[in-house]
Structures are given as structure tokens and as C-alpha cells.
């Protein structure tokens, strides 16, 4: 409908042209040529450009001028060894049945398993581990089962592994081929001659695959971890190699950086154990690695160095925390990036940032504890365990400044808590608050 609008064609023009006598209710009439259901798919209207000419659909068979009948006829299959005759429907054209073999006979392929004579066996094929009988049996089974060694192994009277059977079969065939060849060059390209079967390798390979298959989830996870670490290390090595152009200093003492070097030696999942000085905690090793990477640069700007250190120090913090640190710095009147980045200034700046980070973390912990404390209070009468950091919050003004959004929301209740904390030694804050609460409710 819409398409017609777009094209600007009159709405009922085409259907009238195509379907000769069409009542307005098209769906009730059965159109010629195509079934009603198919026609309905088009939305009750003919397609604008009929893809297939409706008239042609039925006539195709007629134009051939042949008589097609279907007959129930017997047939033989050349793939069969007996001459069993079966029957099936056959398309007969003008009274002549089709010729040719049964169409599926061509799929009857089999493997050419070599047959050796007894002489040949005596001459080339004797083997200490195999008797002639066994070898004969093997070859017989191979032929019957088209070299399906799993089946052959199953049917083999004496128990031999699949690899052993394969080994025997391939070496025998190979020997025969070479023996029968008129010249060595003739058979050199024969696949049996070109590729030798390596039984021990195969056994090993299958054993390894089995092991891999039977890995527990834990082991798989460990493997993935180890591989990822190895990849990281090799990439880091490549990066550091690239950044140093031609020279590569032999750093004699990277003791403190154990993480990088030690794990490179042995790909060990438990990397923590590799760091020589066990006293190194996470933040220290981060700065140490930053220092190392800076050293690799050979020359750098101090502002850049400070940036890297700051990044390393705040790597454990989320984006919001970092923003809060920066806000705090601004509140204190300190430049986010020092205008005069000397060694001393940078060191102080870094320390200040770390301290602010610690402060913010402690405050967050404090919040959590208080939240716990309040839920306890509502639930039971038992005292909440004293929360440690409260002793340090002596300077209440600064406290308020630095927690703009945290404790001051919620209104009066929180405000009261703040005031309370200022006063007496806040060892058990819950206790001191409770009487207040009761008073309020009285």
C-alpha cells in the first residue's frame, strides 16, 4: 500500500490488470497460478513486478513434449557381492527406463590393503614381537574393517595397543612397497613410504591429550594465569628492549624488583614467593617498579616522574577517590601539579597525596563502622565494639571540611553524632548515644 503511495500509482490499477475478473474482496477469490496461502503472504496484493510469471509455473512439464511416468521396477547394485534384486520407483521417460548403475554404488570405496605372500613374509617382514599368524590376522582385520584401528584393536585376539597395531601395519606395508618397487625412486612419493609412523611419539601424544582432557578446573585456571603472566613478562621485556635502542645496561642489582626478573626464570604460578625480600608490601613494590621503569628511560622530566609515582600510589583507589584527593588538595591550596617541581617539592607532594589517600580511606572505614553501629543499635541492646579511628578525629573543623558529602547528609541525627564525638573520649560511642536516643523518644 505504502509503496504504491510512494510510487504514485493508482491503488487498484495493477490487480485489475493481472487478475482478470477480480471482485474487490481479493482474499476470497483464489488467484490462478499460485496457491491461496502463498498469495496471502504478499498481503493480499500481487507484487508490483511479478518475479515469476504466473503463467509459466504450470506449463514447464508440458512444453517438453515427453511422457513421464513413474514405475516400480527392480534394480541391481554393483556394490553388492550377491545379486540381490530389490525394487524401487523409477522415473520413466517416454517408456524408456533409465540406464546405468545404481546411483549409490560409486560410494562403495575400500582401502587397498596390501597382501603379501609367504615368501615375502620370510624375506622382509619378520619381526621378533610379531608372529606370522598375528600379522595375518592383523591384515585380515584391517581389510575387513577398512583400517579402522580402534575396531581392529578391539577384535584382535591377543591384546595389543592401537599404536602397536598401527606400527606393525605401516612398517609391513612400507617394507612390501619398497621390496616390490622396481627402483627406490618409484615409491618415494608414496605416502606410506614418505611418512613413517612413530609409535612412541603417538603414545606420548595421546597420553598428553588425555592428561589435558582430564585437567580439573583448578588446573586450567592456573594454566591460564601462568600463560597470561608469561605473556606480560615477555611483552614488558620487549617494550623495555625497544625503549633502549642499542644499549642494554646490565643492572647488577635488581634485588628489590624480584617480581619481574624472578618469575621470568621459572614460570611459577605463585609469584609472590619469588620476590626475594619478603618484607616488600604492595605499595612499595609499585614505587620500586616505577623507579625501575624510569631508570630504563635514561632521561626524564621530574614532572613526568611525579605523575608516574602518583599513578602508582593511587592505583588501588577508584576514580571517585582520586577525585576526592584532588579536591582536598585544592581545598588546601596546593597545586595539583607543582609549579616548581624540584626533588624536594615532588617528594613532599607525593607524601601529601599518600596521606590524603590514607585519610580518605580511614574516613570511609569510619562511615562503614558507624553504619554498622547504627544498625546494631536498632537491633539489640548490646554494645557495639569501639571503632578505632575515632580517637584521631580531634580537629572537628577540618573533619567537617573534608567530609563534605559524607556525614553531613541525613540531617539532624548525623549532626548529633558529630557533636557527640567532639566531647568526651569516644571509646564506646554507641553507649553515649543511646541515652540520647531514648530521651528523644520519651
Amino acid at each position: 500500500m505504502d509503496a504504491k503511495d510512494i510510487l504514485g500509482l493508482p491503488k487498484n490499477a495493477l490487480p485489475i490488470q493481472e487478475k482478470k475478473s477480480k471482485p474487490p474482496k481479493e482474499s476470497q477469490r483464489k488467484p490462478d497460478g499460485i496457491s491461496r496461502e502463498v498469495y496471502a503472504l504478499t498481503g493480499g496484493l500481487a507484487p508490483l513486478m511479478p518475479a515469476v510469471d504466473v503463467n509459466q509455473l504450470k506449463r514447464k512439464a508440458q512444453s517438453d513434449n515427453e511422457k513421464i511416468t513413474w514405475q516400480w521396477l527392480p534394480f541391481t547394485n554393483s556394490a553388492r557381492k550377491d545379486s540381490l534384486q530389490l525394487y524401487h520407483w523409477v522415473r520413466v521417460v517416454n517408456g524408456i527406463p533409465p540406464t546405468g548403475d545404481y546411483s549409490f554404488a560409486k560410494y562403495n570405496k575400500s582401502v587397498d590393503v596390501l597382501k603379501y605372500t609367504d615368501e615375502e613374509y620370510e624375506k622382509y617382514l619378520t619381526d621378533p614381537a610379531w608372529t606370522k599368524e598375528e600379522t595375518d590376522q592383523l591384515f585380515d582385520l584391517c581389510e575387513r574393517f577398512d583400517l579402522r584401528f580402534i575396531v581392529v584393536a578391539d577384535r584382535f585376539p591377543s591384546s595389543k595397543t592401537v599404536e602397536e597395531l598401527k606400527d606393525r601395519y605401516y612398517s609391513v606395508s612400507r617394507a612390501i612397497l619398497i621390496a616390490r618397487a622396481l627402483s627406490p625412486g618409484d615409491v618415494a612419493t608414496h605416502p606410506l613410504v614418505k611418512e613413517t609412523y612413530n609409535a612412541s611419539q603417538e603414545t606420548e601424544r595421546k597420553r598428553a591429550l588425555n592428561l589435558l582432557l582430564s585437567h580439573t578446573k583448578q588446573q586450567e585456571r592456573k594454566d591460564v594465569e601462568v600463560l597470561a603472566q608469561a605473556k606480560k613478562i615477555s611483552e614488558a621485556r620487549k617494550a623495555s628492549k625497544a625503549s633502549e635502542e642499542s644499549e642494554l645496561p646490565v643492572l647488577s642489582d635488581i634485588g628489590s624488583l624480584g617480581a619481574d626478573k624472578a618469575t621470568a626464570d621459572t614460570v611459577n604460578p605463585s609469584t609472590n614467593s619469588q620476590i626475594p625480600s619478603s618484607s616488600i608490601t604492595a605499595p612499595v613494590s609499585e614505587t620500586a617498579s616505577v623507579i625501575a621503569s624510569l631508570r630504563m628511560l635514561r632521561v626524564y622530566l621530574r614532572s613526568y616522574a611525579l605523575e608516574q609515582m602518583v599513578q602508582a600510589a593511587s592505583s588501588s583507589a577508584g576514580l571517585r577517590t582520586i577525585k576526592r584527593v584532588e579536591q582536598t588538595l585544592q581545598d588546601l591550596g596546593v597545586n595539583l601539579k607543582p609549579k616548581v617541581p624540584t626533588k624536594a617539592v615532588c617528594a613532599e607532594h607525593l607524601e601529601l597525596r599518600k596521606e590524603i589517600l590514607t585519610l580518605l580511606n580511614l574516613q570511609k572505614q569510619l562511615q562503614y563502622k558507624e553504619a554498622e553501629g547504627s544498625s546494631f543499635r536498632e537491633g539489640s541492646y548490646t554494645e557495639t565494639p569501639g571503632t578505632p579511628p575515632k580517637q584521631s578525629l580531634r580537629a572537628a573543623d577540618l573533619d567537617r571540611t573534608f567530609t563534605p558529602d559524607s556525614l553531613s547528609i541525613g540531617g539532624e541525627r548525623f549532626g548529633k553524632r558529630e557533636q557527640k564525638r567532639k566531647g568526651p573520649a569516644p571509646s564506646s560511642p554507641a553507649q553515649s548515644k543511646r541515652p540520647r536516643k531514648y530521651k528523644a523518644s520519651d
Binding site: E245, V299, Y300, L301, L329, V334, P341, T342, V345, L352
Partner: protein, 251 residues
């Protein structure tokens, strides 16, 4: 004195393991540079830093200004105390806006500066190349050329330029012995004192620059009246004050 110098020169020339091997020295591999087949002995845990100031000073040309040349500006890299940087920096390459003729300008000797006329503001890339015994890698700095001052108050003046300077320090974490020896007494460079156990050649300060007419330092530079004084004292004070406030809270 002279003898020690000679000895060390010999050591360098022969490229053999040195007789003195204090723990602080570490041996680097032969560099591939064909002109220095010397073994570079590096000093570990010693950091040499060079405080520099880089930036631009731009003057409005006033009556002489044209559409395409309204300002005359100078971009430079100077020592923070206006000392000669030539002892460390071999040359400076200033990469200007492509609309300039020959936008890659190389300055081979101190003072490392470049003056031009133009009308537009753009980012200038400054690449510093150091002497062979200092560092093989270059250091890149970026500075935005400012022609128009922040405060829109009133017309531009031909007398007062727009000055934008940035302070920073070039740090060499593992300086070579030669470099150290060469600059340990130079005013442009901050060098920590080494313990007495280290025997370093005391290189006679051959200030070739003194013999030349052209001075490398910027102490009496024509534009020096506009140079900013960067003092760390101010910043340190602020930081100390801030730490005072935060410290007790976290203890």
C-alpha cells in the same frame, strides 16, 4: 691530577674491565655507536638533575603589525638560574607550525632559543639532544605559544610581552662517570655528593664557551627582565602546611 686523568683516559681507550670496581659502578655493554667505543661506567643510585625553564615570550608589534605578522615571539630553553645549558644539551630542535618556512629549526649551541614573527598560537615541540656521554635518547617537551594575554583588559602593549614559562628538571638516573666528572662543579647542574670512596677523575673544567664570543648562559639576556623566578620555597611551604593539617588526622 693530570696523571689520574691520563689513567682514566687509557682505561676508556682500552675498553678493558677497570681496575677499580667499587660496588657503585656497573658496567654497561658496548654501545653500538661507532664513534664511542668506550665502556661506559655508570654510577648507580646517583641522580643528576638539571633544572630548566622553557617557554615563550611574545611582543605585540603595534604599528608595525601586519595581518600575517602581528607578534614577535621567542621560544627558549634556559637554565633555571640562567646558567649555561650547553654543558648538558648538545642541541635543541624546535618544531614549529607547518605553515612556517622550514618548520624544523635546529639550534646547535646555547642559548637554545628561537625568535619568529607570526599571528597564530600553536604547540611548539622542543626536542633536546644531549651530549654523547650524557644520554643517547632525546627528551621531548611541548609548549603552547601564547600571544594574547589572559586578561582582556585594554589594548595590547608593545612594551609588555606575554610570558609563559614552565619549570621542570631533567633527571638522569644513571649518569656515566664521565658525565658526572664533567659537570660536578658546574652551576647549571644539581649533583649530589658522592662518598669519598669513589675516585673520580677530576676533569679540568675546559670551558670552551669562555673562549667564544657567544655566551651560553642567559644571565644577561636581553629578555632576562621578563624571566620568572621559580622558587621552590613557596611551594614547599604550602605543602608543609598542608601536610601539617592532614598528618595528625591519619596518625
Amino acid at each position: 691530577m693530570a696523571q689520574t686523568v691520563e689513567n682514566d683516559v687509557q682505561l676508556e681507550g682500552n675498553a678493558t674491565e677497570s681496575n677499580l670496581k667499587p660496588q657503585r659502578l656497573k658496567i654497561t655493554r658496548f654501545s653500538d655507536d661507532s664513534d664511542k667505543k668506550i665502556l661506559l661506567k655508570r654510577l648507580k643510585d646517583v641522580e643528576i638533575s638539571v633544572p630548566i625553564v622553557y617557554g615563550t615570550i611574545a611582543f605585540w608589534l603595534g604599528r608595525k603589525a601586519t595581518e600575517t605578522q602581528s607578534h614577535k615571539w621567542t621560544v627558549y630553553v634556559r637554565g633555571a638560574t640562567n646558567e649555561d645549558l650547553g654543558v648538558v644539551i648538545k642541541r635543541a630542535v624546535f618544531q614549529l607550525h607547518p605553515s612556517f618556512n622550514n618548520p624544523v629549526r635546529v639550534v646547535e649551541s646555547p642559548p637554545f632559543e628561537l625568535s619568529e614573527c607570526g599571528w597564530g598560537e600553536f604547540e611548539i615541540a622542543i626536542s633536546l639532544f644531549f651530549h654523547n656521554d650524557v644520554c643517547e635518547k632525546q627528551l621531548d617537551l611541548y609548549h603552547h605559544l601564547k600571544l594574547y594575554s589572559e586578561d582582556e583588559s585594554g589594548p595590547q602593549s608593545t612594551k609588555k610581552p606575554v610570558v609563559v614559562e614552565t619549570y621542570n628538571e631533567i633527571v638522569f638516573p644513571d649518569p656515566s662517570e664521565d658525565f658526572y666528572a664533567r659537570v660536578q662543579k658546574h652551576p647549571a647542574v644539581i649533583v649530589p655528593r658522592l662518598p669519598v670512596t669513589i675516585n673520580l677523575p677530576s676533569v679540568l673544567a675546559t670551558n670552551v664557551e669562555d673562549l667564544n664570543e657567544k655566551r651560553g648562559d642567559t644571565k644577561d639576556h636581553p629578555l632576562s627582565q621578563w624571566f620568572n623566578n621559580f622558587s621552590e620555597a613557596d611551594e614547599l611551604l604550602k605543602l608543609a602546611a598542608a601536610r601539617q593539617q592532614v598528618g595528625p588526622l591519619t596518625s
